[in-house]
């Protein structure tokens, strides 16, 4: 307190140190792989400020990272692992999962396979409950966060046209329908292979494989259900569906988790989404007042 302004000088010293340290760091990393240097510098041990040049380089994503969910496809059988037990729809806090159960056309008994499966990613709060409580490891949290989109381009429905027109004509969209259409994923849109799952969640996958091995799948599956099944009236998983367990482990268990980047920058965002034609959004045509929201 003796000298007026000493505190300010001290503070400026800190700024100066940051400045110098940043350049020292830059210097240290010169000559290394420039692409990853900034990422590597996001380490508490390093000093200085490093900027990640996003589209070129990306922060490695932790395995636990969660964005919107996807359905795991059993590649050996080319169908979803989901048995439409409905637990994920129940635990979803904003209730953004809709599942339509398949019925056997003859007996009218439910078949453990979803006829349709929707997730409204515009509501999803990325909480991860669906993946956490699914007893069949059939739904997992994706790490691809590059799914932002603009509606008027490739999305062709009446609602999108209205949006496109409104952007052109200054007529306001009645429903802002673009988002609602494009970002509701249906079963096809949600499906990703278990190889992809194994790639992005190696340790989760290792656990699944380990759980599957000791017992034949026909037994393993009900064990897995046993605990959470208490409070639901789900159909028992039918035998044949689950019998593929050991087999399905085969192709993917051998997958040594590739050294590929966790999130590939090349993965184009639209790949996540089903073709728009498959997104049935019910839009009653009767006139109504929607402005009141």
């Amino acid at each position: 307190m003796a000298i007026i302004g000493a505190g300010i000088l001290k503070g400026l010293g800190v700024t100066m140190r940051h400045f110098v340290e940043t350049y020292i760091e830059d210097f240290k990393y010169m000559g290394f792989n420039v692409d990853s240097s900034a990422v590597r510098r996001q380490n508490p041990k390093n000093r200085g400020l490093a900027t990640i040049e996003y589209p070129k380089e990306k922060m490695p994503l932790p395995e636990n990272f969660r964005y919107v969910p996807f359905l795991v496809e059993d590649t050996s059988k080319e169908e979803e692992k989901c048995t439409s037990c409905g637990i994920c729809a129940k635990v979803c806090p904003p209730q953004c999962i809709w599942i339509e159960r398949t019925e056997d056309p003859v007996t009218k008994r439910p078949v453990p396979q979803p006829k349709q499966f929707f997730i409204d990613s515009t509501i999803c709060m990325n909480c991860g409950f669906c993946a956490e409580f699914c007893p069949f490891d059939a739904i997992k949290m994706d790490v691809n966060y590059e799914i932002s989109y603009y509606p008027a381009e490739d999305y062709k429905t009446a609602a999108a046209d209205a949006v496109a027109a409104s952007i052109q004509d200054n007529v306001l969209p009645v429903h802002g329908g673009g988002a609602v259409g494009r970002l509701i994923f249906d079963k096809t849109g949600l499906m990703k292979s278990d190889v992809y799952h194994a790639t992005i969640h190696p340790s989760d996958w290792a656990r699944e494989v380990a759980e599957r091995k000791p017992a034949p799948a026909a037994k393993a599956a009900p064990v897995a259900v046993a605990a959470p099944a208490a409070g639901l009236s789900a159909p028992k998983p039918a035998g044949p569906k689950m019998a593929g367990g050991p087999k399905m482990a085969a192709p993917a268990a051998g997958v040594v988790v590739p050294a590929a980047p966790i999130v590939s920058s090349e993965a184009p965002a639209p790949a996540v989404v089903s073709p728009p034609a498959q997104v049935p959004v019910t839009r009653p045509s009767k006139p109504k007042i929607v402005g009141h929201v």
Binding site: C124, E153, G178, A179
Partner: protein
């Protein structure tokens, strides 16, 4: 980029010459706009925290030429609706949007701004800012990571690239129509629907 077009010596019919000139101009014009978008300094909820993180050192929005967050809508080109839009807030948002000079863009950041998100069912929540103002890019996620926000900027740049001076709404004839500001009545009243609401109320 623009010069390439001029050097192109394929013969061009006279009536198309004008178009080609416009195309080149479009490129220049779009290039200028997309590289210096000034977002409005305007945060609504949790997503705004990620928006601030995007502007901070690690992600550094300035790399896109977008760093200048203006607190005044008059100086901003882009409104990032970062968070839950409530009925109580929407009149202000519409007003701010109306005050932005064209060309103006709007990014709906996060589930809430896109559709109401986890709070969609709430009695004071507007289910998506696009119910009132036109949205250019939507970002799902709750909250979207800073990278996801930047991805939306890249998308927006893509979109701008496709625009043409001849069709964009702000060079068209006629006055700019501003969006009627919704009113806080017994519930939120969308003034575009006022006639229907009046008719409805008469029959209660």
């Amino acid at each position: 980029m623009a010069e390439e077009q001029f050097q192109n010596d394929i013969p061009v019919p006279d009536d198309l010459k004008n178009n080609i000139f416009i195309t080149s101009l479009d490129k220049l014009y779009n290039w200028g706009r997309k590289r210096s978008m000034w977002p409005m300094l305007f945060g609504l909820a949790c997503c705004a925290i990620e928006m601030i993180a995007t502007a901070a050192s690690r992600h550094d929005l300035a790399r896109f030429g977008w760093e200048l967050m203006r607190a005044s809508p008059r100086q901003a080109d882009l409104m990032i609706v970062s968070g839950t839009v409530t009925k109580k807030m929407i009149p202000q948002i519409v007003r701010l949007y109306n005050q932005m000079p064209e060309p103006r863009y709007c990014v709906a950041m996060g589930a809430c701004a896109t559709s109401g998100g986890p709070f969609k069912e709430g009695y004071n929540v507007v289910s998506g800012v696009d119910k009132y103002i036109p949205v250019d890019v939507y970002i799902p996620g709750c909250p979207p990571r800073p990278e996801a926000l930047m991805h939306s900027f890249i998308k927006l740049q893509e979109k701008i690239e496709k625009q043409s001076i001849r069709t964009v709404r702000w060079y068209q004839k006629g006055d700019e129509v501003s969006i009627p500001v919704p009113m806080l009545g017994p519930d939120l009243v969308d003034m575009r629907k006022a006639n229907e609401i009046k008719a409805q109320a008469a029959t209660v």
